[in-house]
Symmetry: C2
Subunit: 279 residues, 2 copies
């Protein structure tokens, strides 16, 4: 169901308080002189824009300048297009997979971490027009931690939303610029998103790894869901606390963090035991 629309904001929009688009574009262009040329982005994504102002918009964070149109609307469209593109692709690729298995597969290909990785992989971060230096630091911290998790970390690392947003806004911009062509948008998306996450890649997630190792060593695992109260998951192995994960935004990430924590602890435990046995 839907939430309330604040009446005054809505009527302002509906009554058409429209910004002067031309003036905004020239202002935006003046402000980007010191930045890397966005034409380079066209080469990266392999798509030349008919209306290049869409590309500028796609790379403009809301913090950049109050008079610039930010990527928010393009991101909204891009999110929806990307969702359909992955749905279509996986519908054709896995003709027998039911929605219960297609849903997590799609989610893994469009989630914040996957898209933030895509942004870094293609150097999008060098072109984002940002007004908030804290975001720049978050992006750098993400880049620094990536080598530790060469594939999807399953939420173990914090991916800055701005990076994922820019991938979505770029796809939204291509969709609009190409006169709503899902084929043109897919051409761009399929190159950007490589490698597309497959069902086999999903199998390596921390919860599965934890259960497998515990089964191997005949250990009893219990997952304690305290997410709605404290944003945490706890993992008990043979009734002892071995892992704890926190993520207030997403329950699954808290669970994955707890499972990863416990998995490492079990590995430590078992190698210590085998050392003792070997003496």
């Amino acid at each position: 169901m839907f939430a309330l629309l604040p009446g005054n904001i809505l009527s302002n929009y509906l009554n058409g308080i429209k910004a002067n688009k031309k003036a905004l574009i020239s202002q935006m262009e003046a402000q980007t002189k010191s930045l890397k040329n966005l034409e380079e982005v066209e080469k990266i994504i392999g798509y030349g824009f008919n209306d290049r102002s869409l590309l500028y918009q796609a790379f403009t964070h809301p913090s950049y300048h109050k008079d610039c149109v930010s990527y928010e609307r393009l991101e909204y469209v891009g999110d929806s297009v990307l969702n359909l593109l992955i749905t279509k692709e996986q519908f054709c690729m896995y003709p027998n997979l039911p929605p219960g298995l297609l849903t997590p597969l799609r989610a893994a290909n469009v989630d914040t971490e996957k898209l933030a990785r895509v942004a870094i992989q293609h150097n999008f971060h060098r072109y984002i027009r940002l007004g908030n230096p804290a975001l720049g630091k978050q992006i750098q911290a993400f880049i620094d931690v990536l080598p530790k998790h060469p594939l999807h970390s399953h939420g173990l690392i914090n991916a800055p939303k701005v990076l994922a947003d820019v991938v979505e806004s770029t796809l939204g911009a291509v969709f609009i610029d190409s006169n709503f062509s899902i084929d043109a948008t897919w051409e761009v998306a399929t190159d950007l998103l490589k490698p597309i996450i497959t069902p086999e890649m999903l199998q390596t997630n921390p919860v599965k790894k934890l259960f497998e190792i515990c089964q191997k060593y005949k250990l009893k695992v219990k997952l304690v869901d305290q997410w709605s109260e404290e944003g945490t998951y706890k993992v008990l192995v043979n009734n002892k606390l071995k892992g704890k994960g926190t993520c207030r935004e997403k329950k699954e990430i808290a669970l994955n963090r707890a499972a990863n924590d416990a998995y490492k602890e079990v590995v430590r435990m078992m190698s210590r035991e085998s050392l003792i046995e070997a003496r």
Copy 2:
């Protein structure tokens, strides 16, 4: 983030335990002899299928017959296509509306109640292949209560999911059959979904009505959110409990029900008071 994929189910699918499609279709066709002819649905939606087995699939509930392919995968695709179609339409129609206002507008046009109404409006319920008689009763109960809420009830009535599913699966079937044409799918969707809910129509929701009447009579309103604990919302008017709404599935529906309850109570209160004053 993504949940675990059950390994055995997955590998069954991945290893290609494929049903014999031809045999299934002939079986499905045999079973539908007693049903209304689905060709009529083609007339209703204004689209003739190249592969009519998709249309049969779109109208087959999972309870129908274990050997029939149900609408689940088509519904999964249709949900995604419909989401993009409404996004695209509203992006063009409201060039200045930010995502914070576009999101509830899209939600209202694709939610279960809206789509269930669409199904009834176009007689889809007469063609659904169901194996569970309880669902048929739920559909009838929904039809019976509709005259009390000629427009969207904002979650005050229970809409059977199967009805919304069939609208989505039909759109999914058209999308696939038309070789993934969003234009062809939009042609069908735009006729089915009329009237598309506008920002003005969203303004009539129960919470807004409650706040307006309380402002008019200078009454103090307080919304008490007990949704995560009990699935309920309570409404206090001048510190007295005047409304209560429950819906474990959706917080907004619980809120709307509580607000509607309180609104009716305030109307009653105020008309009683004006009667006393008039004496």
